[in-house]
Symmetry: C2
Subunit: 407 residues, 2 copies
Amino acid sequence: MKKIEGGVTAAQGFEAAGVAAGIKYKDRNDMALVYSTSPCKAAATFTTNVVKAAPVLWDKAVVDNSDYLQAVIINAGIANACTGKEGYDYCKQTADATAAAFGIPADSVAVASTGVIGMQLPIDRIVNGIGLLKDAKGDDLEHGHIAARSIMTTDTKPKEIAYEFTVGGKKAVIGGMCKGSGMIHPNMCTMLCFITTDVSISKELLTLALKEDVVDTFNMISVDGDTSTNDTVLLLANGQAGNAKIDAPGADYDAFCEALHGVMVGLSKMIAGDGEGCTCLFEVTVKNADTKEHARTLAKSVITSSLTKAMIFGHDANSGRIMCAMGYSGVNFDPERVDIYFESSAGRVQVIKDGMYAVYSEEEATKILSQEYVTAVCDMKNGSETATAWGCDLTYDYVKINGDYRS
Amino acid sequence: MKKIEGGVTAAQGFEAAGVAAGIKYKDRNDMALVYSTSPCKAAATFTTNVVKAAPVLWDKAVVDNSDYLQAVIINAGIANACTGKEGYDYCKQTADATAAAFGIPADSVAVASTGVIGMQLPIDRIVNGIGLLKDAKGDDLEHGHIAARSIMTTDTKPKEIAYEFTVGGKKAVIGGMCKGSGMIHPNMCTMLCFITTDVSISKELLTLALKEDVVDTFNMISVDGDTSTNDTVLLLANGQAGNAKIDAPGADYDAFCEALHGVMVGLSKMIAGDGEGCTCLFEVTVKNADTKEHARTLAKSVITSSLTKAMIFGHDANSGRIMCAMGYSGVNFDPERVDIYFESSAGRVQVIKDGMYAVYSEEEATKILSQEYVTAVCDMKNGSETATAWGCDLTYDYVKINGDYRS
């Protein structure tokens, strides 16, 4: 497979748009559309939060019950969470208006929102925005880029990625965009991700591929440990690549999974590296653990710890904090076996050997930790399983972004 | 029972001292002693972290295996964690030197450390400090106060509390000191607590009382979610009150438990309210939950959330973050039943009603949230169980304290 330019419009038959609908922001786009010229098989994963935003409830219903999806309407500014029946009705009205505008069934329309919670959507502006999106849409890379910018909140950059790959002798493409780790007038850290592909695949395998990959990608990132009410990953496949439909495991399915993983891991790292206020993408690889699940739990515990995050901000090889964060993760291990290394473009240094501080140059360690992409490798010497998690440093700006008053 | 002045020397027969032993700090005390003139029954709880500091391993052994404890030696500056066999040997040497100096068995000596991890103790200075402590000790309140100051790290104030109560017709006293939520040249947030009482009680009931109370006190506080390698609560009872020994449940045991709870909850709130960099003690009470355990889990999830902590710092009634933090706690509940109120010395306001934003004055809410002690009450309307947790706000200073380089 090969990385290519683009995002949600990279695959054949997908269009996108972004417009300024006046939802909450001034002078910027705040609504986006992802549209397929033909019906798509769909798979999705959603927040595990008990408090689910209305669009999450709507999307779960259409992904579970509809044979096909064809359009996604996204707004930034208002999360439509904690909004009760009124909020859910606005999802339905959004889908109805989209159905009427595009001549498609209402149950083929997904909706997604990010922003302030507790506030109701201005449904008239949403409906008006749908008309604007229809007029503005296009299938080139620039339209995908406009959509990726329109769903940003406190993100500092748009997040897009695409891969080309071969399946059943046909060229296929998968691409995606996401927003995340941003807030709108500090409220809720929400991750929204939309992935499009022209592969022909059964709904069952599309769902399986998504569910199996999300545990090692989006579920392995953390900015602040707060799981949003709105988190959504939506994957659409319209079959326009013309490959023989993938409806059983095998080489074609594996090729698709590899490309999907490329997109998911790429977007995951973009979200972690653009965490609120952050200056550094912090990667933690736990290797030689006894089980895969333990490796994941250990890596996530380190990435989530406020103290390790502050340590990265301080460029301080205070590696006892990593030992500590693994120690309270709930996983049992022998601390006196653990080795820890820091790696970055500036080099590699061992800081913990057999559970005790190694002898190393603090100056060298500080240099390694002062880069924009830093990896800690924790060798448990207790098996052969590996997992990687991604996060970022904890900075003054994180506190500023989230401590400032909403309005 | 009645709150009285004092700390670890409030109860009869307890002495304390603090001295400058030159462990790591300059120009301040950094070693402390708690000593009983007669042997004590002892109970303790320790960190659940898999990575346990050497003093935790030592203390667990002596509390489990010795009939009596009589002295505790504490140092600030170096945590003696991730120090291997050498670190454990220093615990033994500390106990041996204390035993020789005071004429007591080595297995009646507990040790405790807080500070930088990975560094070995300067054992010669520790041994020298034991001699200084012996000469400096005294049984008045001022000596307790000196000890409480000597164990501080980045704590901004010493933490002491004492209660007088009646048991079996005799006047008894329980008092304690702790340090916590501080770091030494940013390293590890450690909570150390030492409680002394002159009550006569069996080891079994002393242990039971401590274990049952810790779940609703020290286990319900969080500054940054990082469980230290060194956390220790040590409870000593020397029996000098002269009451008939408490060796069965009943009124005497209940009176003791009530006084113990007063000390434990008081010290817990002092730790939370002196969290690193914090400006506010943030209390969360979850009421009318279906089970006690669920109430505890919900309250702790709110207190631990970076987003609710930043909200308190910003004096912003952004109550969706509280809904969100309860939602990802792992406890199942109906969001559309939840009511949330903010309370402080400035008043009370309902911010969530049946899971949606209530109508209230933002100005009034900001005033309530601008006090030094703020409570959020979450009414689940789903049962009759209550739990309270304590934390603090997330501030620039937290990042500064923990992001600055160690030396």
